[in-house]
């Protein structure tokens, strides 16, 4: 610790540059992770908010809620507890004094568990009739307010906004919650169509809905359009950055160790154990990584505060801590190369 600290204090520029590099790498990693989670949230926030464990869609829906249509004859004769019919369709919301926005309309049965238990209002009240809707908080920034009368698509029917709800996002759009008859009307369906899908917060079996296709929540979310491709892209970027950070720290420490090899040789000649020098190098790499990761975190937080709301960034702190720990461990792995050099130093060189 003594050697590590003294050297870093004396060689501020050298070590400052290394820390700056790690700050930038960790900043990019944290921010990419924040954006990945933010985009995930834009896709699946509502599905997660409903506590979804199981989803059933039409067998010919090609795994898409939007393409799925469930008819009365495909459902068992009795309703199950903890299941809810969900009718989904994309639509455009309009209102005087607010901009026209693309939304996802979700039609629910108000007696079923999603409507009863899972819609957590931030203001207003639940819809009491077919002409009332509850909408995502995100629509506020486009000018929508409680009491506004809105229209959906080119329909003439007016719907009153009676409540706002947080995290009501599906497929990167805000949700407007209404009832199933409205959903049918928006899609131009007759009363034979009951919903787009059946959602449950229980782990249901395929046999519970034998005429429908069974999905776990994870399978359903991964099949959302573009979801897996987007996540894999981010995961690859983060992975590559981790590898780059490993190489950066290993190369920098290697070069610094090369420059110090004559000093180490002298110390070894004077009987200073290699263990002491190895510990100093590992301590240095840990301090560099901790400093860099903390700097990256601060920059990420500042950026999150400064960027516009339209850029979705979600920080998952346990994941951030895990990633930071991973970076620090990578720094220690990066120190193994110079450590190997130190262990192999021939003190005789000190005298030549």
């Amino acid at each position: 610790m003594f050697l590590a600290l003294k050297e870093m204090k004396h060689e501020k520029l050298h070590y400052g540059l290394i820390v700056a590099m790690i700050v930038l790498i960790s900043y990019l990693m944290f921010f990419l992770m924040g954006m990945m989670l933010g985009l995930q949230n834009e896709n699946d926030a509502a599905v997660k908010e409903w506590g979804t464990e199981t989803v059933f869609l039409n067998k010919n829906s090609n795994d898409s809620l939007g393409q799925s249509l469930i008819t009365k004859d495909q459902l068992p004769s009795t309703d199950r507890d903890h299941t809810a019919l969900v009718g989904q369709t994309p639509a455009v919301i309009k209102s005087k004094g607010a901009s026209k926005e693309s939304i996802q309309f979700i039609g629910l049965d108000d007696k079923q568990f999603i409507s009863r238990e899972k819609i957590k209002l931030t203001s207003g009240h639940r819809a009491r009739n077919s002409h009332e809707v509850v909408v995502d908080e995100g629509l506020k920034k486009y000018g929508y307010q409680l009491g506004d009368k809105v229209t959906l698509n080119s329909g003439k029917t007016k719907y009153k906004i009676v409540g706002f709800v947080n995290d009501a996002k599906y497929s990167v759009a805000s949700i407007v919650y209404g009832d199933l008859p409205t959903w049918r009307e928006l899609r131009g369906l007759n009363s034979q169509a009951v919903a787009s899908g059946v959602f449950s917060d229980k782990d249901l079996n395929k046999k519970d809905y034998p005429k429908l296709q069974h999905y776990t929540a994870e399978q359903f979310i991964n099949k959302l359009p573009g979801y897996s491709a987007q996540n894999n892209t981010f995961a690859f970027m983060i992975g590559f950055l981790m590898v780059i950070s490993l190489i950066v720290i290993a190369v920098f420490l290697y070069i610094l160790t090369m420059q110090k090899i004559s000093h180490y040789a002298v110390m070894r000649a004077q009987g200073i154990p290699a263990r002491h020098l190895v510990l100093a190098t590992i301590t240095q790499s840990i301090m560099l990584m901790v400093g860099g990761v903390l700097g990256g975190l601060v920059l990420t937080l500042v950026t999150k505060l400064a960027i516009p709301m339209s850029v979705p960034v979600v920080m998952n702190w346990p994941l951030v801590v895990l990633m930071a720990a991973g970076l620090i461990i990578l720094g220690m792995v990066g120190a193994l190369l110079p450590v190997r050099m130190i262990v192999k130093i021939d003190p005789v060189k000190a005298l030549n």
């Binding site: 003594f2 004396h10 000649a269 009987g271 005789v348 005298l351």
Partner: protein
């Protein structure tokens, strides 16, 4: 009492046609209380002699005994401990860390060897003798060659070693400071009963030595008359 003994030491470097015989049947004894000076021209094997004596490398043939124990069979860890506790190495290349100031060079020793080092008073006295007391806050890069060398001497003696091995310790010093260092080595031998071995070109140190050896072409001979030495 013999603190260090080198018996029938031979050292070869290289193999086959490029094999070089650097030390030839070298026998040497360093007694406590005696200052030994080993002089010789460049390439005569002085550094090899010193590194073998200090356990930094093993001879091809022969025995190296420190306090009667053959160090050739010692593990690297034990050799480290031996060098740290019993041997004070004063190296030709300045052995100071550039990122520690003079006071911290000693603090580093305290971190590694926690007992048996010079007391604060003893260190103070040593630094006064070497005329470097005023340099405690300076970094090696801010010191002259001679100051660096004297700090390196103080650093090597700080562990209070029984054996002092010095490689060209006066190379960067003027005549007045050579006298100071020569007297210091002499006192270490006489007053503190240490075995002092100095390898050098510098004949100005001859006045302070008890035994003067000459190392020429790998052969070590005790000289009675220094005027015969070829340096």
């Amino acid at each position: 009492m013999a603190m260090m003994e080198l018996r029938n030491i031979n050292k070869y470097y290289g193999e086959g046609i490029s094999r070089v015989h650097v030390l030839k049947d070298v026998n040497f004894t360093a007694e406590a209380g005696v200052m030994n000076l080993i002089i010789g021209p460049s390439g005569s094997g002085k550094s090899t002699f010193l590194t073998i004596a200090g356990g930094l490398q093993t001879p091809t043939e022969g025995e190296v005994l420190i306090d009667g124990v053959d160090i050739r069979q010692m593990s690297p860890k034990k050799k480290d401990k031996l060098r740290l506790e019993k041997i004070g190495f004063i190296l030709q290349s300045y052995s100071l860390l550039p990122y520690l100031n003079v006071a911290e060079q000693f603090k580093l020793v305290d971190k590694i060897k926690k007992t048996g080092n010079l007391s604060a008073d003893q260190l103070d006295q040593l630094m006064q003798e070497l005329k470097i007391k005023q340099l405690l806050k300076q970094y090696p890069g801010e010191l002259s060659g001679g100051q660096n060398q004297r700090v390196a001497i103080a650093r090597a003696l700080y562990t209070n070693p029984q054996i002092v091995l010095a490689d060209e310790p006066t190379a960067a010093l003027d005549s007045d400071l050579v006298k100071v260092v020569g007297k210091l080595f002499q006192d270490l031998a006489k007053k503190e009963n240490k075995a002092v071995i100095v390898v050098t070109h510098d004949l100005r140190l001859c006045d302070f030595a008890d035994n003067i050896y000459e190392l020429t072409d790998g052969k070590l001979t005790l000289k009675d008359d220094i005027s015969q030495a070829i340096v």
